[in-house]
């Protein structure tokens, strides 16, 4: 008996037993689809966390001055000068004073975070405008009272009006809105979108202090972060003579946390995938056992009229392979549809299509299908034909 003949026989048998074939497939479909979508959800969550942390800037170094120096504080100009001298490790610097302030537009009031900074802030922190413009050197040089507003502020203060060109009062000072910041969170109050950026040189009256105590520094690359930090620490120690007067820190702690989160997510994910596959596998196993057992008589008839053991086994292997293979393909399509329409539709996490996981799920289902199809078929094929014929 040729392989092609065995294949035709298996297809015929699958078609003749549509209900049973479908049930067998269902186990595979559920197993594969649930693995694919669970993995996609976990990978999507991981990706969105990673992305949002990386949006903050992985080359970012923060400096906070906590102490005082009787002679002089480090000014932004000092830092800028130092950065220019160390341009091999430091790419950019920006002052970053922040305070909470009352903002008024017409008769509407709100409290929001004010960040006073320089044009370099845009690239260091990945903060961009969707309308209008960012801060310019000109604004700093001429102490322009201009402001960039986050979307939460736009929603709260301006409702449906275009804020560009409008005048607002920040702690009593009049500022002109020149740009709208790109949405980073979801436009809600108390999020990253609930902020206003103004030039550092125009901020004295708003901040009610002249000293700038926070700075953002961008290293030239991720592997230069450590070198940049070392040189900054040395520079600051030279000014303040006290290691406790300042803090220099980077995102590495955050990245470590991220990695922890990612790896525990992967463990959870692996667990979900394993459970789905076990459940699917048990389904496949049951239906295969039942289907072969109920066909013992058929096996007996086939043997009585001259089928050898390997003929029977070939037929059952092909049947199991075709059924679980078709189930696997449907499962992959279903899984990808779930990713596209459910995960993508809910817009909770970015959809991730993982081909390796799809193949793993497919492969394991196929293996389970074949093994548990083969085992009872082997048993039945080894029966004496007369014993197989006697079963009803």
């Amino acid at each position: 008996m040729s392989f092609f003949q065995a294949y035709k026989m298996a297809i015929k048998s699958i078609k003749a037993n549509k209900g049973r074939s479908f049930l067998t497939m269902l186990g595979v479909i559920i197993g594969v689809a649930s693995v694919i979508s669970a993995v996609a959800f976990a990978q999507g969550s991981t990706k969105s966390i990673t992305d949002s942390i990386q949006k903050l800037g992985t080359n970012l170094i923060q400096i906070t001055i906590t102490g005082r120096n009787s002679n002089r504080d480090m000014s932004y100009d000092d830092l800028k000068k130092f950065a220019e001298e160390n341009s091999d490790v430091i790419a950019a610097t920006a002052p970053q004073s922040s305070t909470s302030a009352k903002v008024k537009y017409g008769s509407t009031n709100m409290d929001t975070t004010i960040i006073a900074t320089s044009p370099e802030y845009e690239n260091i922190k990945n903060v961009h405008v969707t309308q209008g413009r960012f801060l310019l050197d000109f604004d700093l040089e001429y102490r322009q009272n201009v402001a960039l507003v986050g979307t939460a502020v736009v929603n709260e203060l301006f409702e449906n009006r275009n804020p560009i060109g409008e005048k607002i009062k920040i702690n009593g000072q009049i500022f002109k809105v020149v740009g709208i910041l790109e949405e980073r969170a979801d436009g809600a109050t108390r999020s990253d979108d609930d902020q206003i950026i103004i030039p550092v040189t125009s901020s004295r009256m708003v901040m009610k202090t002249s000293s700038i105590r926070n700075f953002a520094v961008e290293a030239t690359s991720a592997d230069k972060v450590d070198a940049a930090m070392e040189s900054l620490k040395a520079f600051l120690l030279d000014i303040y003579k006290n290691e406790n007067a300042f803090r220099v820190f980077d995102q590495s702690q955050m990245l470590e946390t991220l990695n922890d989160v990612t790896s525990s997510m992967m463990i959870v994910l692996g667990g979900i995938a394993a459970i789905s596959l076990i459940v699917g596998g048990i389904g496949i196993m049951n239906i295969m056992l039942v289907s072969v057992t109920e066909r013992t008589k058929e096996i007996g008839i086939r043997k009585a009229i001259g089928a050898k053991r390997k003929n029977i086994l070939t037929q059952f292997i092909i049947e199991a392979t075709v059924v679980t293979g078709m189930g696997g393909i449907i499962g992959i399509l279903l899984g990808f549809s779930i990713i596209k329409f459910v995960i993508g539709g809910l817009d909770l996490v970015p959809p991730v299509y993982s081909i390796p996981w799809a193949l793993i799920a497919f492969g394991i289902s196929l293996l389970v299908g074949i093994i548990f199809g083969l085992f009872p078929a082997y048993k039945a094929a080894s029966l004496k034909p007369i014993e197989a014929l006697r079963t009803e």
Binding site: M1, M9, K12, S13, I301, A304, G306, K384, P385
Partner: protein
């Protein structure tokens, strides 16, 4: 008158010679065959020292009450089961100690089965059921279909090729089974209570079909508990309690 008598004599002689030729060809030879089943602590001797030979083109009925061992004997003769001891020579080949797969090969080439319960595969059409033995002997698809169609036409089912067993009457199903048994042109056909599940009219039809096959030169071994059926054969072997108690030619 004289001429006619001579003709008759000649014919008679020819028949005798013909039979003489077949007499020399032994198809089945069984010597000292035992079959003992071990059921828990209990030993059941289903066949006790059976000696039997069947020649080509014989029509033999094995008859006996249920539990007599006739089905066990048929299973041994049909290579569906192996004896505990003894020898079985089928068509000049010792088969009592062959492997499972070798026996399958013997069954596919030398034996055709007709069962009481037809044993057709329910999901396949009449044509596919008849084709099945040819698949296992490796016959090409076009040849298979041609031969299966012919075989079904021979048993009068040319109009029922694409019917499933449950769309056919009992008699028709048994005809499909007969077509299946004949498809590989086996030297011997075993019929185990072939009329047992049929009404009397269909039973008569099936018996006539078997007789016809016998006339065409087939060797037929019929297993039955019914003396009337058994007496339609040429030779009756009566079995009781695992031994042959009678072996006679039917006149």
């Amino acid at each position: 008158m004289e001429e006619h008598r001579e003709e008759c004599l000649l014919e008679h002689k020819a028949v005798q010679e013909g039979r003489g030729a077949t007499l020399t060809e032994t198809l089945i030879e069984i010597r000292e065959m035992w079959k003992i089943y071990q059921i828990n602590q209990l030993q059941v001797q289903a066949l006790k020292n059976i000696n039997l030979s069947i020649k080509k083109n014989e029509f033999v009925a094995i008859v006996g009450p249920s539990g007599s061992g006739k089905s066990t004997l048929m299973n041994m003769l049909g290579c569906l089961d192996t004896p505990t001891s003894g020898t079985y020579i089928l068509d000049n080949e010792e088969v009592s100690n062959l492997s499972d797969d070798k026996l399958a090969e013997i069954r596919s080439k030398k034996i055709g089965f007709i069962f009481q319960s037809f044993n057709l595969i329910q999901k396949l059409t009449a044509l596919e059921n008849v084709e099945l033995p040819l698949i296992y002997t490796g016959v090409k698809a076009s040849e298979r279909i041609r031969r299966a169609k012919l075989a079904l036409e021979d048993v009068g089912l040319g109009q029922r090729l694409y019917h499933k067993p449950n769309e056919l009457s009992g008699g028709q199903q048994q005809r499909v089974a007969i077509a299946r048994a004949l498809i590989n042109n086996p030297p011997i056909i075993f019929a185990d209570e072939p009329t047992g599940n049929l009404d009397s009219k269909s039973g008569v039809e099936i018996m006539n079909l078997l007789k016809e096959l016998h006339k065409k030169g087939n060797t037929i071994v019929l297993i039955t508990h019914d003396n009337d059926i058994a007496n339609q054969a040429e030779r009756v072997i009566r079995i009781s309690d695992g031994t042959i108690v009678e072996d006679r030619q039917v006149i």
